[in-house]
Point group: C2
């Protein structure tokens, strides 16, 4: 069990002086004699006295701690965002605490409440997939806690937003396959009720139409994880003889699809060129190494933290909201070199 921490009153009682003398001695107040200051400060150090965090925050209205709420910490994209956030935060004297919702709405509510109870100065959020009610976000605003959404934004809440341009990223990836000579490109897609699923599919279609290729629903297979690729392996193999390119909604889906095709006698990229989305560490490990688009998670994290600091420190007008958009960049590797042996 935790023991009660020592307070200014305890120190005053033990040393036989008044609490206000102790308080002023600890703050190096000029009215207190050097001798008393030394006594109080040495004693406070000895008994491990810590100013009460809440009392400090009530005085200064600041804890210099910000909260990060994300769906999954193991995800490469989110971990790069966190690095970007932390680098800006530390440089400006803020500490960061992280809560993981595991894509669970209830946990998101609890995590936000815990952060408010701990009086963080502001919160950076990427919304969970299962969040369809937004009162917990409204509450933050009503409590005056600055909030910036990144990546998985909440369209129903006005706030600063930092996002990756999924539509443009998918268009860049699909255009690259067309440039490499692909004429018929399969898309491995995420569920269309998710914004990233919808935007990446639309970017794919847009690139096809630009080049007078048709966007054929028959060539779109719904799978967005390693497991769902294996579950839909038959559909992928059935379409394989007629396609020469695959654009997958993320890297792990692209890599699993390459493995399914290779086991069925296809050579990548000789027979079919493949492009992913995300540029996680797996892209380099894949066989062949995977061409993909990089989402600039680090830049997104930095931008989100800078916007948050603007609200915390500069008293930015409440309704002055900004949206920053980062366009992914192509990272070209072996998997998309159609017609070549690896």
């Amino acid at each position: 069990m935790k023991s009660q921490p020592i307070t200014i009153k305890d120190i005053a009682r033990i040393l036989g002086i008044s609490p206000s003398t102790v308080s002023r001695a600890l703050k190096d107040h000029p009215d207190i004699s050097p001798k008393t200051k030394q006594l109080v400060q040495t004693f406070a150090e000895k008994v491990n006295y810590r100013p009460n965090a809440l009392a400090l925050s009530l005085r200064s209205s600041k804890t210099n701690t910000i909260g990060i709420v994300i769906p999954e910490i193991v995800h490469h994209f989110f971990s790069t965002v966190i690095s970007g956030i932390e680098d800006v935060a530390y440089g400006r004297g803020y500490n960061a605490i992280i809560c993981q919702t595991n894509e669970n709405y209830q946990r998101e509510v609890i995590d936000l409440q815990a952060l408010v109870d701990n009086r963080v100065d502001g919160i950076l959020i990427s919304m969970s997939k299962n969040t369809h009610e937004f009162a917990h976000f409204e509450n933050l605003k009503e409590n005056g806690v600055p909030v910036v959404f990144f990546d998985r934004i909440c369209e129903q809440i006005s706030s600063d937003r930092v996002i990756a341009d999924d539509f443009e990223g998918a268009r860049i990836a699909t255009r690259h396959l067309i440039d490499k000579g692909c004429k018929k490109i399969m898309h491995l897609a995420a569920p269309q009720h998710l914004l990233i699923g919808k935007n990446r599919k639309e970017g794919y279609c847009s690139a096809l139409k630009e080049h007078k290729l048709s966007c054929d629903d028959r060539l779109i297979v719904k799978c967005d994880t390693r497991e769902t690729v294996f579950a839909r392996a038959d559909d992928i193999i059935r379409l394989a003889p007629e396609v020469d390119g695959i654009f997958a909604v993320n890297d792990s889906t692209a890599i699993a699809a390459m493995q399914v095709l290779q086991r069925n006698g296809y050579s990548i990229p000789k027979d079919i060129a493949v492009v992913g989305f995300g540029d996680g560490p797996n892209a380099n490990i894949a066989y062949p190494p995977l061409t993909t688009v990089e989402q600039k998670g680090y830049d997104i994290g930095q931008a989100a933290m800078r916007l948050l600091i603007g609200h915390i420190e500069n008293n930015v007008e409440e309704e002055e909201y900004e949206t920053k958009i980062f366009t992914p960049e192509l990272v070209e590797r072996a998997s998309s070199q159609l017609g070549t042996e690896y």
Copy 2:
């Protein structure tokens, strides 16, 4: 800027009743009339009243929040440990907040202080590589905050500990190569001042000696990341003609070594069998899929959280410390099937 949150006194003033009536109405006290209760509760909801977290914690001595301090959240092992911690924590009504030290001693000190200031009920720590002073850990004990170390334990502090048996894991991995027919096994090793580097190398040597094979320093190459494998590629290639097996200190080192060997004309596992350590998601993506040992991060997280709850809730005697050890398990895949084509 944050506005001051509304207090019980504010509600009392606005409604024209006493603070103690407000307080008891909020707690559903039988002495308060249903009408007053409804008035107070409806009003409190409307103005978003939240009981002050610190005040609550001073009363109950509990915040039901625990802190997790880890070197790197992106690391697969730590993310599985966190899942294990969270599953036990949530089941017992605790919330978890995570701090990442980025292997930096200064951040570890700041993170621990922030958690103490936020009055977490207990802390789970895996120490940073650069921590060589331990006063911040001693302080936790002096403040009566229960602590459990996991994986990267602090030998200088008496506490509960939950660890993976790296020595035994390495012995299992090396024995497996010997069982597959390897006679001369290279080891890709981590720095020997790190406990995991030392223990895994010693496990490797122990397995060799068990089978009357010599543990030859010449066959130990110091590299423990993808980057250092590429930097020491010449040394690996120079030794390759005389070895038939490789045991690498972690999966990414094993996978990078396979790529270096393949680019130099070696066939894995036909010419050289390879085993890693860790069983992260990369092991399945590697070409060929990597045989490795699984570290049981999830079980380690669960065990650590259960020990912590013991100290938080059951008033376990301060000096009653336990150490729990988890032995890794072999996960056999294609990369270690010496002599076979993949």
